[in-house]
């Protein structure tokens, strides 16, 4: 039997794993819905604009349907986002205690954006019948601006965790002075924020397009489906090449500022020049197994020359190395691989559209679009795994370890189990409800009306 005083330590280690998993799971769930909160408004408004400007009934119908779907995704996004705010205190109380004063301002700013977005979203979603066309359109515009602003503030907070600055600590490690502007505009903000914004537009664009691609593959080739495919797909295909440029820049910044993360995600054991770029494979103590190695490419990508020195894990103290190198490496490769595939899809569409003002005729194009939504979501998850697992063992890079931040409360594994069950149900119902709405639209049925429980009839006026 272990000595008793070891037990609290064991409980703490166990809490750390449970808390990290719960945070990853709930963030991964929320971020998909957050993308819809950020990028769906613009997609809807473009359809709305086309509808009003050209008197296009199909485009207006798409905007109306998407806004009804957004009512559902925004509600689930709002409650799962609230859960994250609670988790800051429930899972990471020591982190908030020590650094809330420094990086909390980002969330205060996000709060305003979210507030304004929630207000105008309500006006837009519920204003279809009784507001005039253009007044209704303009009531939606603040959603686009606030969606972008909110994403900026939240991602700036995460950037700060990766490249913290703008605060002064006393000898006891307490924050005694802050420079909020330096917190918000830390070095990582410049690439993390555009990377995530573009990711949101890609996720939404490819996901919405994929729904209509599936419909077209089932033989629904009407104009509504064509427009429903083309509007979001165009947005996503414009975002994709910019994203590849931003992502490439971000990787170089990580190599410069977070060499441990970079070495882990690229499986670099020894510091040196002429580093090999590994595609796929498993990271082991003696090199990458089963991967495809391209000599010199890693050094070239970091510094545009094979002579660029890249820091390896051997120069990182063992207790400051990220865990799970293979996970990081494969996640990074998945993100880059999917991003490249989506780029090819965008080029394919652009080429055919330029030649004959139409989408490619082959069903393979629709099949590719049909899986692009899931692909974009997986790529985004993979990117967040690289960012967050790659920062470990730090919660605030260089200042606070995740193990120091975690709660001492009991029952974290139990809570995590409940959260998985709850979110599984939530996810399933969200999909079922959205599919039900889409089926009713197809069948041309009226919206559910009347009292919530009652037989369908209009009871109020």
């Amino acid at each position: 039997m272990p000595p008793l005083d070891l037990l609290p330590l064991a409980a703490e280690a166990s809490n750390l794993l449970a808390a990290r998993n719960q945070m990853a799971f709930t963030l991964g769930f929320h971020i998909v819905l957050a993308c819809f909160g950020v990028a769906l408004p613009a997609t809807i408004l473009i359809a709305n604009y086309i509808g009003l400007k050209r008197g296009d009934a199909d485009a207006l119908e798409l905007a109306r349907r998407w806004s009804k779907a957004m009512a559902v995704t925004f509600a689930v996004g709002a409650v799962t986002g609230t859960v994250l705010s609670f988790e800051f205190g429930l899972l990471w109380p020591e982190f908030m205690d020590r650094f809330g004063a420094a990086f909390g301002v980002a969330f205060a700013i996000e709060g305003i954006f979210f507030f304004v977005e929630a207000i105008f979203l309500a006006i837009y979603i519920y204003g279809w019948k009784r507001l005039s066309g253009w007044a209704h359109f303009w009531s939606g515009v603040p959603m686009v601006v606030t969606g972008i602003g909110g994403a900026f503030a939240v991602v700036a907070a995460n950037s700060w965790m990766n490249q913290p600055q703008g605060f002064t600590l006393d000898a006891a490690g307490k924050v005694i002075d802050t420079e909020p502007l330096k917190v918000l505009f830390n070095p990582a903000t410049g690439y993390e924020v555009p990377h995530m914004l573009l990711a949101a537009y890609m996720v939404v664009g490819f996901t919405v397009a994929s729904i209509y691609a599936v419909g077209m593959l089932k033989g629904r080739r009407d104009r509504l489906h064509r427009l429903g495919l083309l509007i979001p797909l165009t947005i996503a295909c414009i975002a994709t090449p910019i994203q590849i440029f931003v992502g490439d820049t971000a990787a170089r910044e990580v190599a410069d500022h977070q060499p441990a993360k970079f070495a882990a995600m690229e499986c670099i054991d020894e510091t040196g020049t002429h580093q090999t770029e590994w595609i796929g494979g498993i990271c082991t103590d003696d090199g990458v197994k089963f991967g495809i190695g391209i000599p010199n490419l890693d050094s070239y990508l970091v510094g545009f020359s094979a002579d660029t020195e890249v820091i390896g894990l051997n120069d990182i103290p063992p207790d400051e190395r990220p865990p799970a190198n293979t996970l990081l490496h494969l996640s990074f490769d998945a993100m880059v691989g999917i991003g490249t595939a989506l780029m090819l899809l965008a080029l394919w569409l652009a080429w055919v559209w330029w030649r004959r003002r139409d989408i490619p005729k082959t069903p393979w194009f629709l099949r590719a679009v049909a899986v692009s939504g899931v692909g974009a979501i997986v790529a985004m998850w993979a990117g967040w795994i690289v960012t967050e697992v790659g920062r470990q063992p730090w919660i605030v890079q260089g200042y606070m370890r995740t193990s120091e931040a975690v709660t001492e409360a009991d029952g974290i594994w139990f809570a995590f189990g409940l959260v998985i069950a709850l979110y599984a149900v939530l996810g399933v119902i969200t999909v079922v409800v959205l599919r039900g709405m889409s089926r009713r639209w197809r069948e041309g049925a009226a919206e559910p009306a009347g009292a919530p429980y009652a037989p369908r009839q209009e009871v109020e006026r």
Binding site: F86, D97, V116
Partner: protein, 335 residues
């Protein structure tokens, strides 16, 4: 007044708005829960849904506002509360997830059975959240949250005062919602529903009054610091709350119900929230953590104030627009 005091006041403004608007939304869920079977409860539920639909998400954001101001402006208080009261806080969060999603889903499904299940989820969770939020407030007032955090996770809130405060929150929410719904029913031209919610407003008001009276007794036993100040510095607010409550009672009992019903209902609640704040001043966590001791450095507090000023310029007019459109029936309740 220093910066920390100003931010503490902003925190209380956020709590006030959440108590008023979030409270009324939760109360709507309460009346949905007790509206009876599908046939009998059909019309009250329709009215509740119509009133809640366009505004509940915006109202919910006040909670986020309170959390953000707390962890940015007073990080150690945030930690102390969350490491002690994590059980009721987690249950309140569960209620928030179920309520929001249940409400949003219910409007978007067809089948009666599914609507019933989602509606029940929405309604029951509307009860859970204010109750557990109330236990948190009661535990803080009772001084059961040590300033350093990690207080007892159960005995801190499983006490008469926190539990009574939970009941008070539920009753107050129901009361606010019923008064608001009386006005909505009148505007929609349903005199029978007006009477329906009037009776419920009176009942909930009586229960809330009783819970408040019992709460005072418990306060005397468990939170002497807060009790003493409530009946000294806080006395004008206690009287204001009682006057508002009684004046509203008078209005409700008159045959022609005209007059400032909503302002009076809101006034009664606002006075209680500020009475609580005054009573535990200068402590955030009586009597172990003061506002000053918990406060973040000045530049952070300044940003919180600036952000609040921007919010006042940007959010409040937008919110006013939303309520105005909603009250003038320019927004649909169905989507």
């Amino acid at each position: 007044m220093n910066l920390a005091d100003a931010v503490a006041i902003i925190l209380w403004v956020g709590i006030t708005f959440y108590a008023l608007f979030g409270g009324a939304d939760f109360g709507g869920g309460f009346w949905d829960l007790v509206a009876g079977g599908a046939e009998r409860g059909e019309r009250p539920r329709a009215l509740i849904q119509r009133s809640l639909t366009p505004v509940w998400e915006a109202n919910h954001v006040w909670l986020i506002f309170v959390l953000v101001v707390l962890w940015t402006g007073f990080p150690s208080a945030f930690k102390a509360v969350f490491t002690t009261l994590y059980v009721p806080i987690a249950l309140a969060a569960l209620g928030i997830v179920l309520r929001g999603s249940g409400f949003a889903f219910r409007k978007s499904v067809e089948a009666l059975e599914a609507r019933r299940a989602l509606g029940a989820t929405f309604a029951i969770s509307s009860l859970l959240t204010p109750f557990f939020m109330g236990t948190v407030a009661g535990a803080v007032a009772a001084g059961n949250v040590p300033g350093g955090g990690n207080g007892d996770p159960f005995s801190s809130w499983l006490q008469p005062l926190p539990l009574l405060t939970g009941a008070l929150f539920v009753a107050t929410s129901a009361y606010l919602a019923a008064v608001f719904l009386v006005g909505d029913a009148r505007r929609a031209g349903h005199p029978d529903l007006e009477r329906y919610f009037l009776r419920r407003a009176l009942g909930a008001g009586a229960v809330a009054g009783l819970a408040a009276a019992l709460g005072l007794v418990a306060l005397h036993g468990e939170a002497r610091y807060v009790f003493d100040r409530l009946l000294a510095e806080g006395l004008p607010l206690v009287i204001l709350s009682a006057v508002c409550g009684l004046a509203l009672l008078g209005l409700l009992l008159r045959p022609v119900r005209r007059g400032p019903m909503r302002p009076l209902a809101a006034g009664a609640v606002v006075a209680v929230v500020w009475g609580w704040g005054v009573a535990q001043w200068p402590y955030l966590l009586p009597t172990s953590l003061t506002v000053d001791a918990a406060a973040a450095p000045d530049p952070t507090l300044t940003v919180v104030l600036v952000v609040f000023a921007i919010a006042a310029v940007l959010v409040l007019p937008s919110l006013g627009l939303l309520y105005a459109l909603s009250q003038r029936d320019l927004l649909e309740s169905e989507h």
